[in-house]
């Protein structure tokens, strides 16, 4: 179909392109440039070569952020690859009431992370429900300091991320499960394979590409983690700010009181490299999958 006027496509594209340039592509180029300057929110911004990056290399706060962010992915990604798949298997079959359960399981996805974070920071507080249950079951004597111990705080945030994501990845897996051969399952059952065995040998290989995809989505989401940590720690990122993520630190450094835009931009580039790194890993593994 030929356009009647040569400018018409551009007229249609104009609003989307303006927004893409103003708020995505322009700022991206700007981030790259600023990363090599000493710009602050007040102005300035002279070229200072690799200074920001050499400072980053010696900045313990930066390394804490990177460590926590990578740790986040290491814990969250495997859980998000496996648990929603089990949940999808559970809700796959059309038994009475299953639509209700599917919807309820999805509802944490719809809620804002602020809401979810506030609910869980109450549940996880020293006199909250989680400690109440653990004490009632005599698993612990004293309440666990979920919100005041750096490692436990980080772990709590990770579990909240998984809790909120379960329903989303469940729906993605449900679509994939439709393509797993029913005949294979039946044949295996005739041969006496139990549920666990069939899950391991038929379901998992059947949804393998989807598991990789979920892994990638989970890894990218982990790189961007912010709201969980901010809300659950009430803005402090734990004692001494030790539970900080990269995005937390970028915001604090670049948009906080000191407003070190240049330095924060260098940090942003590090975040970009991490995110893209995971995507490339994913594409590589996809390609080797296809070659197999």
């Amino acid at each position: 179909m030929k356009a009647q006027y040569r400018w018409l496509p551009w007229l249609f594209l104009a609003p989307a392109l303006v927004i893409a340039f103003l708020f995505h592509l322009g700022p991206f180029l700007n981030t790259i440039v600023l990363a090599f300057t000493d710009a602050t929110t007040l102005g300035g911004g002279t070229f200072n070569g690799l200074d920001n990056f050499t400072s980053l290399a010696q900045d313990p706060q930066f390394w804490t952020s990177v460590r926590n962010t990578v740790l986040y992915a290491v814990v969250v990604v495997p859980l998000l690859m496996l648990l929603p798949l089990l949940l999808a298997v559970l809700v796959e079959r059309n038994i009475p009431g299953i639509g209700f359960f599917r919807s309820v399981f999805y509802s944490p996805v719809v809620a804002s992370m602020v809401v979810v974070g506030l609910i869980w920071s109450w549940l996880l507080s020293s006199d909250g429900a989680v400690n109440g249950v653990l004490q009632a079951l005599r698993i612990v004597q004293e309440p666990l300091p979920f919100l005041t111990d750096t490692s436990l705080l980080l772990l709590s945030c990770m579990l909240v991320t998984v809790w909120k994501g379960l329903g989303y990845y469940m729906v993605i897996y449900l679509a994939a499960l439709g393509n797993v051969s029913k005949e294979l399952h039946e044949a295996a059952q005739v041969d006496g394979a139990g549920g666990g065995r069939r899950f391991w040998s038929i379901t998992m290989p059947g949804v393998r590409p989807t598991m990789f995809l979920v892994g990638l989505l989970g890894a990218i989401a982990s790189m961007k983690v912010f709201a969980e940590i901010f809300v659950i720690s009430n803005g402090s990122a734990g004692p001494g700010g030790q539970a900080r993520s990269l995005v937390y630190t970028i915001r604090e450094v670049g948009l906080g009181l000191s407003g070190e835009i240049g330095y924060a931009s260098a940090m942003s580039l590090a975040l970009f490299v991490l995110t893209i790194g995971f995507s490339i890993l994913y594409l590589r593994s996809q390609r080797s999958e296809q070659l197999r």
Binding site: F23, H24, P27, L87, I95, G97, I119, K182, N234
Partner: protein, 302 residues
């Protein structure tokens, strides 16, 4: 694990060895089916408690008066009260925040629908020089995480005078790459013949887009609108960055502000979170098939 499988497997194995008398076979089948159901529902209820429990618990806390314990296992009070909700309204300008969130989320939904369907239509249907470049540019906006460019977006917004305005919250997400991708895919799936017929009838490009193509992709428009609305309503990081004056906060930032600054009263915080989440849960339960379709169209590609 499915009923069909159990059914077939049992009858097949019975057919091959035929040792068991028929009535015993059917009795054990029924029993196994019952056990299977019981286990399934037990697991479903366990997951229900795990995933819906925190919301129910929080709701219960939000309607408990000061005399009722919020530390007992019983989530619901003997005498429900709305005093915590009025306390929220007395502490923060919550109606203003609701209004701000509604403006932001609705504008985001409308703008995404308009801008993404215009752009998606061009990319699906029109041939012009620079098309590949435009494709790559929109793809780049999907690949570059917002968190990476956030600081620079703030600078741009500041030079445009958008700091502390709702427009500043809305504009960066007013035409997301994901919305464009969804609309483009939807237009590509339409048969070309109808539009070609309209062209022969003398319809202009604009008429073809508005009268013929657009009505056929209503479903995808709904998906784009819902996703944009929910994303904008739930978003926290960007409004937190761009809004400085507490009067201009959206609901998510306002609720965090309530809990972080004003009160350690768990009942009031609970009421605040309920105000933020109940409208969305209603929206979700009313339009759930569109949400699930959205995950299929957007999530898997995005």
């Amino acid at each position: 694990m499915s009923t069909m499988a159990t059914h077939n497997a049992t009858s097949r194995s019975a057919g091959s060895n035929g040792k068991n008398p028929p009535h015993r076979k059917s009795a054990s089948r029924t029993r196994r089916k019952a056990v299977d159901y019981a286990i399934r529902y037990a697991l479903l209820i366990f997951m229900f408690i795990l995933l819906a429990g925190p919301f129910i618990w929080q709701f219960g806390t939000s309607i408990k008066g000061p005399t009722e314990s919020i530390f007992t296992a019983n989530p619901f009070p003997n005498q429900p009260t709305i005093e915590n909700y009025t306390a929220v309204a007395e502490t923060i300008p919550v109606f203003r925040y609701i209004g701000n969130s509604l403006i932001v989320a609705t504008s985001s939904a409308v703008l995404n629908c308009i801008f993404a369907s215009l752009a998606g239509y061009v990319l699906a249907r029109m041939k012009f020089r620079g098309r590949t470049l435009v494709d790559v540019l929109f793809l780049a906006t999907i690949i570059i995480p917002f968190e990476v460019i956030m600081v620079s977006v703030f600078l741009t917004s500041r030079s445009l005078g958008l700091v502390d305005s709702l427009l500043g919250v809305i504009l960066p997400a007013a035409a997301t790459g994901l919305s464009i991708l969804i609309m483009r895919t939807a237009f590509q799936a339409l048969p070309r013949e109808i539009e070609e017929a309209a062209m022969i009838d003398g319809a202009s490009d604009w008429q073809r887009f508005l009268r013929v193509a657009l009505p056929s992709v209503r479903g995808s428009l709904v998906v784009v609108a819902i996703f944009a609305f929910v994303f904008a309503w739930d978003d926290f990081l960007w409004p937190l960055v761009i809004l400085k004056n507490p009067d201009n906060y959206t609901l998510t930032v306002g609720i965090q502000y309530l809990s972080g600054t004003f009160t350690s009263n768990q009942r009031v915080v609970a009421a605040g979170t309920m105000i933020a989440v109940i409208p969305l849960l209603l929206l979700f339960f009313g339009l759930q098939r569109w949400f699930f379709r959205g995950v299929g169209e957007g999530g898997i590609k995005g």
